[in-house]
Structures are given as structure tokens and as C-alpha cells.
Amino acid sequence: MAALLGTGALTEETGQEKQDTQEKDKSVPPERAEEAKLKAKYPNLGQKPGGSDFLMKRLQKGQKYFDSGDYNMAKAKMKNKQLPSAGPDKNLVTGDHIPTPQDLPQRKSSLVTSKLAG
């Protein structure tokens, strides 16, 4: 009589996320299981994943801002300590990363012939 319904037990433990999955079949669809994993790792993940945030990021691709005040202050500080250097994501816009000329990727075009033509 303990009614060990698979989904029922899950509901109690994981709270609000599972409230609406009281389906008759006991297996959680793989997508939902993955969703639960993601929310467990990133509890602050926005409500509208396909909506504005991720679309805005797509539209802002290539945007690179430069603040001369930040840059000059960083140059002054550089004499004393190491600044965080550009990580693999060179699209970091503001915050801790102050781009320096050394950090910027080479912008010249590749004058080398494609290896497909070799």
C-alpha cells in the first residue's frame, strides 16, 4: 500500500519540476531527464531558453566593444600585476577581460592558398 509509483516517488524528491510528469508510463522521456540534469547544474537558467537570450546572443555575434578608459587603467595596472588574459572565447565583451593588442587575434586575411588546391 505504500504505492511505490515510480513517478510519484520522483515527484516528492525533486519537487516542482516533476509535478507535471505524472504520466501513466513510469519512464521519464529522455529529453525531460536531460532537462533535469541541466537545471540541476545551472539552477539560474532562464525560463525561456529558446527565446530572447539565446537569440540575442546569435544576433550579437561579432560584436566587439572597446572602452578606452578601461584600457588605459589596465595598462597602468599592468606594470604591477598580471591581468587575466584573453580566454579561448575572444568574444568576452566587458567585465574582467580588458583586451590588449597582444590578445587580439590576427586580422589579416589568409593569403595562403587553400590546402584543398594543393
Partner: protein, 449 residues
């Protein structure tokens, strides 16, 4: 002999033909192939890469002496199409990566193609020169100017044969028409116009006019906070010059008729498959985003590719696709990690064969998939240097989903997600396919008997 190839489509055995590119331990980013396209006869095959370069291969004439070598593709021309730019006004870095190449149908001895990066479309003319004029009056054979006072008689320059030279020249540059990033270009069947589509707008161009274009679709909301979807791909109907389709990040396709209005914001048809609400999750919208849309050669169907499936739609039926094919459904239980490593945003393309009976698309681990629409059989093949002996038949591959893994199967966890086949192309009439595997281009053909 065929007993081991249980899931092969009966008619076609695919064989390795050629591979272009080098075997590098570390791949230079510029060498990553970003687009592949056959021209309308299949004589030429063009590739674009992240470094802004275009390489065109030409199929050699079939020789009676070597019937087994069915026309190999050799380098015909290569040029730098786009260069990196920086828009200082907008603080925007513009990549030189070639997003798409589209050929114009051939109308004279020269070949024309459109190539585009995120912001600028260019029309390139590729032509052969096998004669050159000799005997100029005002300059000598080295090109140095002669002293006019030393010239005592005039002669008529004559054309003499020279070694074949293929030159590519930019004939038109269509710039400054896109605020957002261009994802598609499509040549109209009238051969006079073409369209370019970015995330929010589609423009119609005339090939002769570079300083103007008509905006035919604009889905930018007045308030950007209200943005809910973007345009992901667009294509003109192959025969009806007034009709085109565009797909969205929400998994819908709109068909528009340019005769109804100058601005085609109101669609003529709207294709959307109803969603099963019990399946909805955080990932639903992301994986439903359409990464490619292609009309069939007949013009009766459209094919769309989203993250996990390829769908075929009948233009006459808007409420659901007529066919859905699972490309790699086993990834459904990996969505969390695929989101974390951004693979869930990979944009795969799809292709029809010449008779619209088979469709093809890429996957991970350098696998690509083909679906026969008639027999409903499918096959998974791999583009790899290990299977690259000339005319070696490609062995079907299988991904094992759990439980016991057979000897030649590969488990989902062993798949290499950095080896993605995003771009593939099918010859317009023959069973020849071009598959881009990162920085290598593979060409496969069906077996010659």
C-alpha cells in the same frame, strides 16, 4: 557477399573516390570547409572555407582508356573571395568565412557563382583564357612601355595560343544591405534576381544592380525585447520565380508569393508540425530550429533539417510533414552535454539526389546518413581516411544505443563530436556526393559495374 550489409539500400553501393585536403594533427581554423556546392551540370564542384577562400574542382572528361575512373574532380580554380573586415561604426568584427556558394546556370563560356560571408555577397566570374594578344605597338612583350618616338610602323596585334589559364574576377559586390548575419542566398529561376537572407530580413537583388535591393521579408519586431524567432534559411522555388520559402528557429516554414505584395510579411502558406505537449522540455525549441531548407528538384516538396531529424513536406499540406527521418535519435539522451558544449547549436545541411528519391544529411563522428524515400531504408556511412582506398566500398556503420555492443558498432559515448559533417552535396543527376569533413573534402561515387 552482401549478407553482411544488411541495411544497405539495394541499388547503390557507395565507394570512395577521392579526398582533398591534408591530414593535419591540428586543423587550422581557416581550412575548415564551410560550404560545398555542385553547379547545375555537376561538372564543377565549389567549396568555401572559414578563411574566405573558394576552391573549384572540375570533373575530368571520362576516358575510354580508364573506364573505372569515372571522371575525377581536379582543381580548376581557387581564389580569395572574402577578407576579414571590421565595421568601426558598429564595433563589429566581420568574419571572412564563406557561408554559402550558389552557382548561376551557365549562359556562355564563363561560369558565374555567388559567394557570401555574413555581410557581403559577391558575384564571381570564372573564365578560361587560352589565347593572348601579341605584338602590341605601345609596349613590348614584357609589358614595358616603348618610347613612342621610336615607333616607325604600326602592326595589328594577333592572338596566339597560350597555356590554359583560369581566372576568377569579382564582377559585382552586393554590400551594406544586411544589418544581421546572412545565412542564405538563392538564385531565382528567372536568372535575373537572387535573394539574400539574414536573421531578420530577406532582400531581393537584381544581378546588375549593386546599390539597391528590395526588402521582401522583415520580421524584426518594433521592440527587440519581443524577439521570439529568427530566419534560419531561405530558398527560391526551382521553377516558380515568384515563390520562395524561409525557415525559422521555431521549426516553422513559410512560403511566400511575391505577386501578392511587395513586402511578403504575410505568408501564403505556413508549415508547422503540431507539438506533442507532453514532450516539451527546455530543449524542444532549440532542437526544432531548422538549420536548412531545400526544395526538391520537382518543386513539389521541401526538406527541412532540425537537430535530430530530416523532414519532407508536401507543399500542399501545411499541417505536418509527410515523412520524418531520425538522423541520430540516440542523442536525445545526451542533450544536456550537447547543450553545454554548444553542439546542440550545430547547423546541419541536407541534400536531395537528382531524382528526389534519396535524401542525405550529416551527423557526428564523420558519419553521414542517407534515406531512401521509396524503400524506407537508410544507411549510415563514414568519411574517413581509413576507408580511402580507390573504389573501396563503404561499409555501413552502426551506433549502438545501449546493452551489448557488437564488434563493429560504436557506442554513443565514443562518438567524436568534433568530427561533424555539416555540409554535403549531391551531383544533380548522378550518384556522386561531396562530403565535407572539417578540413577534408571526400568524394564518393556509386560502384561501377
Amino acid at each position: 557477399f552482401l549478407a553482411g550489409f544488411g541495411s544497405l539500400m539495394q541499388d547503390v553501393l557507395w565507394c570512395f573516390s577521392q579526398v582533398k585536403g591534408t591530414i593535419d594533427i591540428g586543423v587550422t581554423e581557416a581550412d575548415i570547409i564551410s560550404t560545398v556546392e555542385f553547379n547545375h551540370t555537376g561538372e564543377l564542384l565549389a567549396t568555401g572555407d572559414k578563411g574566405g577562400r573558394v576552391v573549384i574542382f572540375q570533373r575530368e572528361q571520362e576516358s575510354k582508356n580508364q573506364p573505372h575512373r569515372r571522371g575525377e574532380y581536379n582543381v580548376y580554380s581557387t581564389f580569395q573571395s572574402h577578407e576579414p573586415e571590421f565595421d568601426y561604426l558598429k564595433s563589429l568584427e566581420i568574419e571572412e568565412k564563406i557561408n554559402k556558394i550558389r552557382w548561376l546556370p551557365q549562359q556562355n563560356a564563363a561560369y558565374f557563382l555567388l559567394s557570401t560571408n555574413d555581410k557581403t555577397v559577391k558575384l564571381w566570374k570564372v573564365s578560361e583564357r587560352d589565347k593572348r594578344p601579341e605584338g602590341y605597338n605601345l609596349k613590348d612583350e614584357d609589358g614595358r612601355l616603348r618610347d613612342p618616338s621610336m615607333i616607325t610602323m604600326l602592326r595589328v596585334p594577333v592572338l596566339r595560343p597560350m597555356d590554359l589559364m583560369v581566372e576568377a574576377t569579382p564582377r559585382r559586390v552586393f554590400a551594406n544591405a544586411h544589418t544581421y548575419h546572412i545565412n542564405s542566398i538563392s538564385v531565382n529561376s528567372d536568372y535575373e534576381t537572387y535573394m539574400s537572407a539574414d536573421d531578420l530580413r530577406i532582400n531581393l537583388w537584381n544581378f546588375e544592380i549593386t546599390n539597391q535591393s528590395f526588402n521582401i521579408v522583415d520580421i524584426k519586431p518594433a521592440n527587440m525585447e519581443e524577439l521570439t524567432e529568427v530566419i534560419t534559411a531561405a530558398e527560391f522555388h526551382p521553377h516558380h520565380c515568384n515563390t520562395f520559402v524561409y525557415s525559422s528557429s521555431k521549426g516553422t516554414i513559410r512560403l511566400c508569393d511575391m505577386r501578392t505584395a511587395a513586402l511578403c510579411d504575410r505568408h501564403a502558406k505556413f508549415f508547422e508540425e503540431p507539438e506533442d505537449p507532453s514532450n516539451r522540455s527546455f530543449f524542444s525549441e532549440i532542437i526544432s530550429s531548422i538549420s536548412d531548407v531545400k526544395f526538391s528538384h520537382s518543386g513539389r516538396y521541401i526538406m527541412t533539417r532540425d537537430y535530430l531529424t530530416v523532414k519532407v513536406w508536401d507543399l500542399n499540406m501545411e499541417n505536418r510533414p509527410i515523412e520524418t527521418y531520425q538522423v541520430h535519435d540516440y542523442l536525445r539522451s545526451k542533450l544536456c552535454s550537447l547543450y553545454e558544449n554548444d553542439c546542440i547549436f550545430d547547423k546541419f545541411e541536407c541534400a536531395w539526389n537528382g531524382s528526389d528519391s534519396v535524401i542525405m544529411t550529416g551527423s557526428y563522428n564523420n558519419f553521414f546518413r542517407m534515406f531512401d524515400r521509396n524503400t524506407k531504408r537508410d544507411v549510415t556511412l563514414e568519411a574517413s581516411r581509413e576507408n580511402s582506398k580507390p573504389r573501396a566500398i563503404l561499409k555501413p556503420r552502426k551506433v549502438c544505443v545501449g546493452g551489448k555492443r557488437r564488434k563493429d558498432e560504436i557506442s554513443v559515448d565514443s562518438l567524436d563530436f568534433s568530427k561533424k559533417i555539416l555540409h554535403t552535396a549531391w551531383h544533380p543527376s548522378e550518384n556522386i556526393i561531396a562530403v565535407a569533413a572539417t578540413n577534408n573534402l571526400y568524394i564518393f561515387q556509386d560502384k561501377v559495374n
